[in-house]
Amino acid sequence: MDIFFQQLFNGLTIGSVYSLVALGLTLVYGILHIPNFAHGALYMMGGYITLTMMQTLGLYYWLAIFVSIVVVGLIGVLMERLVFHHLRHAPPIHDKIAAIGMLLFLEAFAHRVWGADYLEMATPHGQVVSVFGITFTLQRLIIIVAAVLVMFTLYLFLKKTYMGMTVIAMSQNRAGANLVGVNTNKVAMLTFFISGALAAIAASLSSPINLVFPGMGHLVILKAFVIIIIGGMGSIPGAIVGGYILGFTESLGATYISSDYKDIIAFILLVLILTIRPNGLFAKGGQS
């Protein structure tokens, strides 16, 4: 039974990271209808920048994360300005290919600058804690708490501020938002900034328990796609709930089914879902 709760706790940790990544992905999809395959590269960049800030400038963990948020957010904005903005009216195959191009570039960039090695990120919160028979490092608890805080802040921003509300308005109806005077360019840039920031937070939080390497974004982004399809492309609550569901499923699956194949669970789930519902689990049916 202890193992069960231990795995539940681990699931919550992984799920928090998944949710944050999926949130960024779903926001961009909701606003611009782009499946941003380069999102995993933003995540990877987040990990590296935090690590570099800590190692070369000697910044404290949380300060390093802050720098990372700003930098990766700006990389996101650049992506929108330099690339996606020019492909607004192109056939749908084009933005996917452009995203792949940026993904390849950023990965090669990381490879060139930081090398192919798996790097460790030290955390000031490495203490081991034991509560109710579950043993974990403080870092894991911090991941869970920080993720909730970030989500809550995002929620407040989207619901209570004018800027946030324009994002929501545009995700619901682009043409309409344009009519009522929302600056769609600004909103697109803002959305990409948030998306990059969320990726940076997720990567910086999870790096101390995982590792930092050029391909660290691969699996995470693939799983984030699975999550937003489960939760409904563009749906914010869907991304959060989906993230936790996948986190639990994986961590329990690894214990009770097979740890070799735990990464496959998400994809089999997705293949099953799309097989039964080709337009995703919560697609709006009917009218096109």
Binding site: H33, P35, V83, H86, L87, A90, P91, P92, I93, H94, K96, I97, A98, I100, G101, M102, L103, L104, F105, L106, E107, A108, F109, H111, R112, A116, H218, L222, F225, V226, I229, M233, D260, Y261, D263, I264, F267, I268, L270, V271, L274, T275, P278, N279, G280
Partner: protein, 336 residues
């Protein structure tokens, strides 16, 4: 027009002659090896082109099917112990059947969902190859795959004979693709790419034709994979990795997606540049990534498409000038 066609014929025959005599004039084994690999990639890229370029469905599982072909051949020849050519044919049949099954499901989805779905299918294939050690050798890879068996007096155990064998399959691929694209079947694919709704209303079964395109694309991926396995004789799980699909995509995009010469042009140019930029190796995507992005924004149909469009424009201009001349002549006649 006829002169252009003649020029094209001439250029093509010259090119074919060149690749035919190349092994006779060079003894550079390394260069021959690179050429063989290039031929193999090109076959795979043609498969991708038929689906993504002509039918409009971006499949990101292409490396998965390439690896499926390679591993199926390896398992059939080594583990099962079949004779080479029987295993070869069974490999093609098997890859096509798997392609048909996956295609039937994958093609129910569209656009983004299709890309994500196939991305996941590709990853599942990778994870299975990686984890199923008993069958695939896992991360250590699969060794001891035989060279192509002899056909009558023809033997394929030297590098040069392999060169001609792979070249034969490449030419065959190009001929088959050329014939498909320039037929009613090809027009059907392109109608689907243009607008599925319109295609349906003019009586085209999009379900059936998309599936045909998908199976063809997996068939050529499998063919390339089988040739790859028996040429390198050692395969590892990385050939099914998504980065391999991205490599294929780069070849296709730079050469020209949805054009007949695109796969050849793109693959040769990129492999050649990669050879020249050896020092870049793992960082080659530092160059190719941005090229991909710039191309898709400014020249979405790659080098080949750029030349075709340029030619069309020139022709249109010529026609305009000629028709203007005609008008002038007519006027002169009238006035005279």
């Amino acid at each position: 027009m006829s002169r252009l066609l003649l020029n094209k014929r001439f250029a093509l025959s010259g090119l074919l002659l060149l690749v035919l005599v190349l092994p006779l004039i060079t003894s550079n084994a390394y260069m021959i090896r690179i050429l063989i690999l290039t031929f193999i990639w090109t076959i795979a890229v043609y498969g991708l082109n038929l689906l993504a370029g002509y039918t409009g469905y971006l499949s990101l599982a292409h490396a998965g099917f390439f690896a499926l072909g390679a591993y199926t051949l390896a398992i059939l020849t080594v583990t099962v112990g079949l004779s080479y050519w029987l295993a070869f044919i069974l490999t093609l049949v098997f890859t096509s059947i798997v392609g048909a099954l996956i295609g039937m499901i994958a093609l129910r989805t569209r656009e983004h969902f299709f890309a994500i779905y196939t991305l996941c299918v590709g990853y599942i294939i990778y994870l299975i190859i990686y984890n199923w050690e008993g069958m695939t050798g896992g991360v250590r890879g699969f060794i001891g795959i035989p060279s192509p068996g002899s056909i009558g007096p023809l033997e394929f155990n030297s590098q040069i004979s392999n060169y001609y064998l792979v070249l034969f399959f490449l030419v065959l691929t190009i001929v088959v693709i050329y014939r498909i694209v320039h037929s009613l079947q090809g027009r059907t694919f392109m109608a689907i790419r243009n607008s599925e709704d319109l295609a349906k209303t003019i009586g085209i079964s999009t379900t059936k034709n998309k599936l045909i395109a998908f199976i063809l694309s997996t068939f050529f991926a499998g063919l390339a994979g089988a040739l790859f396995a028996s040429f390198t004789r050692f395969i590892g799980p990385e050939i099914s990795n998504i980065t391999m699909t991205f490599d294929f995509l780069v070849y296709l995009l730079i050469g020209g997606i949805g054009t007949l010469s695109g796969p050849v042009i793109g693959t040769f140019i990129i492999v050649w540049i990669s050879q020249e930029l050896q020092f870049l190796q793992d960082y080659r995507m530092l160059v190719f990534g941005p090229i991909l992005v710039i191309l898709i924004i400014f020249a979405p149909r790659g080098i080949s498409g750029f030349i075709i469009d340029w030619n069309l424009k020139r022709k249109a201009k010529k026609q305009q000038i000629e028709s203007m001349k005609d008008m002038e002549n007519n006027q002169e006649v009238k006035e005279g």
